[in-house]
């Protein structure tokens, strides 16, 4: 059997005396829509920071397309096909929306500006952000900033996209809009990890869900199984 797209094996992470992750194992198949849930502070963001390279895991291994990546710097991981959006948007505020997208297109895809702009405009149109292309990033609304996060991640043409709470704080219609964008990207063959607090969204989107609690995986399965799982109920509702 060939190796999965992403294999997280026995990963742990500590901050001082605090254990943020312990023995986390995840296999992710190509093209999957994968949900990562868990109560606040359960280690979701720490886990994706370890996968994307913003943090180094203390123990365990992370393999992407058969290659050990856990010692690579973040930019190398992006170049190998892992892109992410940030929970709190981090635009390059001195640049326009379009220029924001030209950063990954120059550094990851190695496109010349002319080609990069064409591709970036395509992505922006797909996200309904095209008319804002020439606006400075620091003038965007919250929804637009979230879209910019996703659009910029897409400009790196990732094989794996990690969406870190791209919908937090958005209203109902806006949630649907972002969700549709993610579905569309998945149809193009991109594997997606979605971290979300909005349960309806995760459950609608994901084919498979993992629930973290206090740094450990407590349950894994299809959305319906997860909702029915007593451990998950315990993690959220308590015992």
């Amino acid at each position: 059997m060939s190796e999965p797209l992403l294999r997280v094996a026995g990963v742990s992470k500590h901050f001082g005396g605090f254990t943020a992750l312990s023995d986390v194992n995840i296999d992710l198949a190509e093209g999957e829509r994968f949900g990562l849930i868990g109560p606040n502070g359960s280690g979701k963001t720490t886990l994706i920071n370890c996968i994307s390279g913003a943090l180094r895991n203390d123990g365990g291994s992370i393999r992407f397309r058969g290659e050990e990546i856990s010692t690579l710097p973040a930019y190398q991981r992006t170049r190998r096909g892992i892109a992410r959006s940030f929970q709190i948007p981090r635009p390059f505020h001195s640049m326009t929306v379009l220029e924001n997208l030209l950063v990954p297109s120059a550094y990851v895809i190695h496109l010349k500006d002319e080609e990069g702009e064409v591709k970036a405009m395509e992505i922006l149109r797909g996200m309904g952000l095209a008319e804002r292309a020439r606006s400075p990033a620091n003038q965007l609304s919250q929804v637009e900033l979230r879209k910019l996060e996703l659009a910029r991640a897409m400009a790196a043409r990732p094989k794996l996209l990690i969406s870190d709470e791209a919908m937090a704080g958005l209203a109902g219609a806006e949630v649907d809009e972002v969700l549709q964008i993610l579905f569309k990207l998945n149809e193009q063959g991109i594997t997606i990890i979605m971290i979300e607090h909005i349960m309806q969204a995760v459950m609608r989107f994901s084919q498979r869900v993992i629930c973290l609690d206090a740094g450990k995986i407590i349950c894994e399965g299809a959305p319906a199984q997860i909702v029915a799982n007593p451990d998950v109920q315990k993690a959220y509702l308590g015992a």
Partner: protein, 243 residues
């Protein structure tokens, strides 16, 4: 005790994102009230509105104390703290490079609480013996459960009358969650506190609460006594998103 917190019809948010829509809740003196809901639904924002860390764009937050009314939307966080309101913040927010004892003593920064330091410190150490054993240790080097104890202890050092606790269960293993919640109940009884606790762990929270509110997408969708909450089938749906 003459104390009442009443929040009426507040809207609040960050930039263009509205996190609270017309939320009204009230907490009477001596009560333990639970604010229930999963994350991202506005619990922390509400706590911050009470503490003056987020300003509501609409509505009022009034603290009645000893027949005086304080409009908390007009006061700074420091002034609210000195009225006798303490918050155990989400994620604990300890000073990681200070020792356990220094963290506790900082809790007693407000002038009204300084006289009672020996008494309060002794009580903290009695309630949480682990803090006494580790009083010279740096706060950042302690485990998650110990840090939560310290955060609660630190809030108590200010000798508050109204204690707000934001997500005490965050990042804790189940056994510690239960332990922490039990402690809050003990402390409440011992000090005669009024407690408002934001918590997503439903069953643990209503174990010690008198009443509760369920908040979903920044709106109160259900309120009632413990019995009503327990018997309500909708709770699970609200929580797990199957509604």
């Amino acid at each position: 005790m003459a104390l009442e917190l009443s929040i009426r019809e507040i809207d609040a948010g960050y930039g263009a994102v509205r996190a609270l829509h017309g939320v009204s809740i009230s907490v009477a003196g001596g009560e333990t009230v639970a604010l229930l809901g999963t994350n991202g639904n506005g619990k922390s924002t509400l706590m911050k509105c009470i503490m003056g860390m987020v300003r509501p764009t609409k509505g009022s937050v009034i603290l009645k104390m000893d027949s005086k009314d304080f409009d908390l939307t007009k006061l700074s966080t420091e002034e609210i703290v000195s009225l006798g309101v303490a918050l155990v913040p989400e994620g604990r927010r300890l000073f990681p490079k200070l020792t356990v004892e220094e963290n506790l003593l900082l809790g007693a920064f407000r002038k009204e609480s300084r006289a009672k330091i020996p008494e309060n410190l002794a009580f903290c150490y009695q309630a949480f013996p682990v803090l006494a054993e580790r009083k010279r240790q740096l706060a950042g080097s302690m485990s998650g459960g110990q840090q939560q104890m310290l955060a609660i202890g630190r809030a108590l050092m200010s000798a508050p009358r109204l204690l707000l606790v934001d997500e005490p269960s965050v990042g804790l293993a189940p056994i510690l969650v239960s332990h922490t919640i039990t402690k809050i109940k003990e402390l409440k009884e011992r000090y005669g506190l009024t407690v408002l606790m934001a918590e997503q762990n439903f069953h643990q929270a209503i174990r010690i609460a008198d009443r509760g509110y369920i908040i979903v997408h920044g709106e109160i969708v259900f309120q009632g006594g413990v019995k009503a909450l327990e018997e309500n089938e909708l709770v699970k749906n609200y929580y797990l998103g199957t509604a």
